[in-house]
C-alpha cells in the first residue's frame, strides 16, 4: 500500500469541497497529478495543490492507497466521500459529508465531524474519535435508503437525527446522542453507550437499537416484552427488551409480525 500525505497549507476562506480527496480519486496518480485535481469554493474552481502540500504517491488502485491528511480541515467538506476501498486518516476536525456514501475501506477522523457524515454509508469502517454532528449515517433528503452497511463508530457524542432511515450495518456511539435516533429505521443496529435524549426509534419499522444510559422520554409506541442478557459491543449486561414502534406498520414473516426492537440496559 502506498501513502499520500496531504498537509493543509491554505485554509479556505469560505469552505472547500474536497470531493476529490479519497483513495478512488487518487488511485494511480502521482503527487503532481493529485495536486491538479479540482477543489471548489462556490463558483471558484481551484486545485487541491492550491490548498494542500502533497507528498508521496497513490497506489495503482484505491485499495492500494492510503491517504493521511494533516492540518486544519475544519472547513473541508466531502473528505473521503464515496470512497470504496483503501485507507484514510484525517488528523483534524472536518466539515460536512465526511465519509458520506462510503462503500468500503477504512476512514479514521481524529477530531470531530460536522453534519451529514457517513450519510447513506454502504460499507467499510468509519471511525470518529471526537464528536459527530447531526444526520450521522442518515439518508439523503427524500431518500428511504439510509446507512445500509459497514461499521460507523463515534467515540464521542453524536447530534440529532442519527441513523434516520437506516436499513443495515452497525453504528456505535460511545457517548451521548440527542433527539431522533433511528427514526424510520428499517434494519441494522444502533448502539448508544451513553444517554439518549428523546424520541428514540420513532416510526421504527425494523432493526435494533441498544441504549446503555438513560432515555429521557420513552416513545408511547414502545412496549416492554421482558428481560434479556446480552453481549453488546463487548459488554455483558441485562437489558429490558421493548418492541415498537407499535404506531408504525410492520412486515410479516411466515405469519409472524416482525417488530423493531429497543434494548435498554438495566
Amino acid at each position: 500500500m502506498k501513502t499520500v500525505t496531504l498537509t493543509v497549507k491554505n485554509v479556505p476562506e469560505l469552505y472547500l469541497e474536497c470531493e476529490n480527496v479519497n483513495p478512488d480519486a487518487f488511485a494511480g496518480k502521482t503527487a503532481d497529478q493529485i495536486a491538479k485535481l479540482g477543489g471548489y469554493q462556490g463558483k471558484e474552481i481551484s486545485t487541491l495543490g492550491d490548498y494542500f502540500t502533497i507528498a508521496g504517491e497513490a497506489g495503482a488502485t484505491a485499495a492500494d492507497t492510503k491517504i493521511i491528511v494533516n492540518g486544519d480541515c475544519t472547513k473541508m467538506k466531502y473528505l473521503g466521500a464515496k470512497m470504496s476501498a483503501g485507507e484514510m486518516v484525517i488528523n483534524s476536525t472536518t466539515d460536512m459529508y465526511t465519509g458520506s456514501w462510503m462503500t468500503g475501506g477504512k476512514l479514521l477522523v481524529k477530531g470531530n465531524v460536522h453534519s451529514f457524515c457517513g450519510l447513506a454509508m454502504k460499507g467499510g469502517e468509519f471511525t470518529i474519535e471526537g464528536d459527530a454532528g447531526n444526520y450521522l449515517g442518515a439518508a439523503y433528503r427524500g431518500d428511504w435508503r439510509g446507512m445500509s452497511g459497514g461499521v460507523l463508530r463515534v467515540k464521542g457524542n453524536a447530534g440529532s437525527d442519527v441513523a434516520t432511515f437506516m436499513t443495515g450495518g452497525e453504528m456505535i456511539v460511545e457517548g451521548d446522542v440527542d433527539i431522533h435516533i433511528g427514526t424510520h429505521m428499517e434494519g441494522g443496529k444502533i448502539i448508544v453507550k451513553g444517554n439518549a435524549n428523546r424520541r428514540v426509534g420513532g416510526q421504527l419499522v425494523k432493526g435494533e437499537i441498544y441504549v446503555f444510559g438513560n432515555i429521557n422520554v420513552m416513545m408511547p409506541g414502545f412496549k416492554p416484552t421482558g428481560e434479556v442478557d446480552l453481549q453488546v459491543d463487548g459488554t455483558n449486561a441485562k437489558f429490558t427488551e421493548y418492541i415498537g414502534d407499535l404506531g408504525e406498520r410492520h412486515p410479516k414473516r411466515k405469519g409472524e409480525t416482525v417488530y423493531g426492537k429497543l434494548f435498554l440496559k438495566q
Binding site: 439518508a139 439523503y140 433528503r141 427524500g142 431518500d143 428511504w144 406498520r249
Partner: protein
C-alpha cells in the same frame, strides 16, 4: 428566409409511403417544400435515416403532480444534476426531469411535440407555466373530465349538448386540447376513499356508472368534432384480471363514428394499455392478456392505443387515478402524495422500482412489448412509457431497440432472475417480429399526428407540412447489429429541425427554436344553462372566483390555436 436541402438521406415517411428510399427533403422557412433556391444550405444525410419530428401522445411532463414528484424527490437528482457546455441551462432528474431537461431530452431524441396527458382544470395555469418554461418542443395539455361534477350531472341525464358546451368552455378557460378521462367515476369515489373497479360500479352520490361517463364523453367529443378523440385511462388499472374491464370499456366504442375535419378516424384512444392487459386473479397466477386485448384492437378500426412500456428502472408513478396510487403505496410503502381537486379530479404520486429480479415487473415489461408486436396497424399503436409511470421517456431508445431487435429483447428476457416464470406468463418468447424503421415512423410520427388531429401539418415530410425533421445516424443498409448501438443512434439525433430551424446537432442543443402551445378553441351555440351552472358552481362550491379561473393567453406567448366550429352540430 432560411433554406435547406437535406440530401441523400434514407427517408421513412408513412404519410407518403416512402420506405427508406434515398430522397432529398427541401426546407424553406418553417415548411417542407418542393424545391429551394440555389443558395440553400446543404445537409449531407447520406447513410442516415430521415423522419419527421416525433410526437409524444401521452406523457406527464408539466403540471402540479409532475412537479410534486420533482420536488419531493431530491434523491432523484442527487449526483445527477449537471450542465452541458453551450446555451443550455442546468438539467436534472432521472425519473422526472426538470422542464429544461425535458425539452432538451425530447429534442435530442428527435421529438418536436409532447402531449401533457392530464391537466386538472383548476391547476391549468400551473401546467401552462411549466409548458412555457419547457424549451424547444411544442406542447399541449389534456384537461381531465372523467370525474368532473358538471360532467357527472349532465351525463346522468344524457345531456350531450350541455356536456359538449361545458367541455368547450373548459378548453377555452384552460387552454386545453381535448378530453382526457382517468378512471371515470373512480376518482370521484376516491374523494370518499372508495373506487370504481368495473365500468358498472355506481359512482357514490352521482348515480352514474363509468360506462355511462365513457359513452357520454365519447359522444360529446364527436359532437364537438375535436381534433383528438376521447383519451381514456380505463378503470381497474394495474390489477390482475383487468383485461376484461379493458375489453368492456373498449367495446363501448363499437358503432361510434368519428366526426371531425382533421382526418382523425378513432373515437377512443386507450392509453398505457400495458397496465390494463393482465390476466389471472392475483400476482401469483398473473399472466399477459396482451394477445386478447390486441386481437380486439386490431379488429376495431375506430380505436387507437399507446403501450406504456415498462423500462425496468426506478421511477416515479403519478396519475389522476388517486385510488390506484393509494393502493400502490400500500404495496411498496414508499412516500405517497395525494391531491384531491375540488369538483374535478385527484392525483397521486408514489416512487416505484421496477426491479428486473421480480417476476411481476419483468412480466409487465414483456406485456408492453407484446402490445406493440401484436399491433397489425402501426398507425394505430403508439409507443409510450406513460412517462414517468412505466419508466422515464428518456428510455425510448431502449424500448425501440427491444422492439427492433429480437436478439436484444431475448437477451433481456432470458437473463431475468425469474426468466422461466416470465416466459410462461407471457408470450413474448414466441414472437419473432422486429419493428422496422418504417413501422417505427408510423408508431411515433404519422400515427400519433393522425390520432391527435394534427396530420395536416405534422408527422410527415410531405411538401406543405411543417418542417419538423429528425435525422438519425442510422444507415438502414447497415442497420446496427446490437441493442446498445440502436439505443445510441436514437438517443442523439444527427440533426433536429424544428419549424425549419436546426435545434440539435449531433446531440448538442444549438438553438431553442420557437416553442408553441397548442390548444383547441371550440365554438358552440350559446348555452345559457351551462353558463348558469358554471356561475352557480363557482359561487357555491369552488374556492376560487369564476373570474380568477381562466388561463390568460399571455401564458402561451406562441400559441397555436386550432379552431373547431360546433355551432351547427
Amino acid at each position: 428566409m432560411s433554406e435547406y436541402i437535406i440530401k441523400n438521406g434514407h427517408v421513412f415517411d408513412p404519410v407518403q409511403g416512402i420506405k427508406g428510399d434515398k430522397k432529398d427533403i427541401f426546407v424553406k422557412d418553417n415548411k417542407i417544400v418542393d424545391k429551394v433556391g440555389s443558395g440553400a444550405k446543404v445537409i449531407d444525410a447520406s447513410g442516415k435515416t430521415v423522419m419527421a419530428g416525433a410526437l409524444e401522445v401521452h406523457a406527464h411532463v408539466a403540471g402540479p403532480k409532475v412537479n410534486a414528484g420533482r420536488w419531493y424527490r431530491p434523491e432523484d437528482k442527487h449526483f445527477d444534476s449537471h450542465k452541458t457546455a453551450g446555451i443550455t441551462r442546468i438539467e436534472g432528474g432521472k425519473s422526472i426531469p426538470t422542464v429544461f431537461k425535458t425539452g432538451y431530452e425530447y429534442a435530442r431524441m428527435g421529438f418536436t411535440f409532447a402531449m401533457e396527458a392530464a391537466m386538472p382544470p383548476l391547476y391549468a395555469r400551473h401546467v401552462h407555466e411549466e409548458i412555457h418554461d419547457t424549451p424547444i418542443i411544442d406542447e399541449a395539455a389534456l384537461p381531465v373530465f372523467g370525474n368532473n361534477w358538471f360532467i357527472l350531472e349532465y351525463l346522468k341525464n344524457q345531456e350531450i349538448e350541455n356536456t359538449a358546451a361545458y367541455i368547450a368552455w373548459v378548453l377555452n378557460q384552460t387552454k386545453g386540447y381535448g378530453v382526457k378521462v382517468v378512471n371515470p367515476g373512480g376518482t370521484e369515489a376516491w374523494a370518499w376513499g372508495l373506487n370504481c373497479l368495473s365500468i358498472h360500479d355506481p359512482v357514490p352520490y352521482f348515480d352514474i356508472t363509468p360506462a355511462e361517463i365513457i359513452t357520454g364523453l365519447m359522444a360529446a367529443n364527436e359532437y364537438l368534432g375535436l381534433p383528438h378523440s376521447m383519451h381514456l385511462h380505463q378503470n381497474n388499472l394495474g390489477n390482475p384480471g383487468n383485461y376484461t374491464t379493458t375489453l368492456e370499456s373498449l367495446k363501448l366504442a363499437e358503432g361510434v363514428k368519428a366526426k371531425n375535419n382533421f382526418g382523425r378516424e378513432q373515437v377512443l384512444h386507450s392509453t398505457h394499455l400495458q397496465f390494463h392487459s393482465y390476466k389471472g386473479t392475483n400476482w401469483g397466477d398473473f399472466e399477459s392478456g396482451a394477445k386478447e386485448v390486441m386481437d380486439y384492437v386490431n379488429r376495431q378500426k375506430n380505436l387507437t392505443i399507446d403501450t406504456g412500456n415498462v423500462t425496468l428502472d426506478e421511477t416515479t408513478t403519478m396519475t389522476a387515478d388517486g385510488p390506484f396510487e393509494h393502493h400502490l403505496n400500500s404495496l411498496n410503502h414508499l412516500k405517497w402524495i395525494n391531491v384531491d381537486v375540488e369538483l374535478e379530479t385527484a392525483a397521486g404520486v408514489v416512487p416505484f422500482i421496477y426491479d428486473p429480479d421480480n417476476a411481476v415487473f419483468a412480466s409487465q415489461w414483456a406485456v408492453g412489448l407484446e402490445l406493440a408486436l401484436y399491433a397489425k396497424d402501426p398507425m394505430r399503436c403508439f409507443i409510450t412509457t406513460d412517462h414517468p409511470n412505466a419508466g422515464p421517456f428518456t428510455r425510448y431508445p431502449r424500448v425501440y431497440a427491444w422492439l427492433m431487435s429480437e436478439k436484444y429483447r431475448n437477451e433481456r428476457l432470458n437473463t431475468f432472475k425469474k426468466a422461466d416464470k416470465v416466459i410462461s406468463a407471457t408470450t413474448l418468447a414466441n414472437i419473432d417480429r422486429e419493428i422496422t424503421l418504417y413501422e417505427l415512423a408510423a408508431m411515433t410520427r404519422a400515427g400519433p399526428a393522425k390520432c391527435l388531429g394534427l396530420s395536416k401539418d405534422y408527422g410527415g415530410l410531405k411538401p406543405g407540412m411543417n418542417a419538423d425533421i429528425a435525422i438519425y445516424n442510422i444507415n438502414p443498409d447497415k442497420f446496427p447489429s446490437t441493442g446498445p448501438e440502436i439505443e445510441k443512434a436514437f438517443a442523439q439525433v444527427a440533426y433536429l429541425f424544428k419549424d425549419g430551424k436546426i435545434c440539435v446537432e449531433e446531440g448538442k442543443i444549438v438553438d431553442m427554436g420557437k416553442k408553441h402551445t397548442f390548444w383547441v378553441d371550440a365554438k358552440v351555440k350559446e348555452n345559457k344553462q351551462v353558463m348558469h351552472d358554471v356561475r352557480e358552481k363557482f359561487l357555491r362550491y369552488y374556492s376560487v372566483n369564476e373570474n380568477n379561473y381562466s388561463v390568460p393567453e399571455s401564458y402561451a406567448p406562441h400559441q397555436h390555436i386550432i379552431s373547431v366550429d360546433a355551432t351547427q352540430a
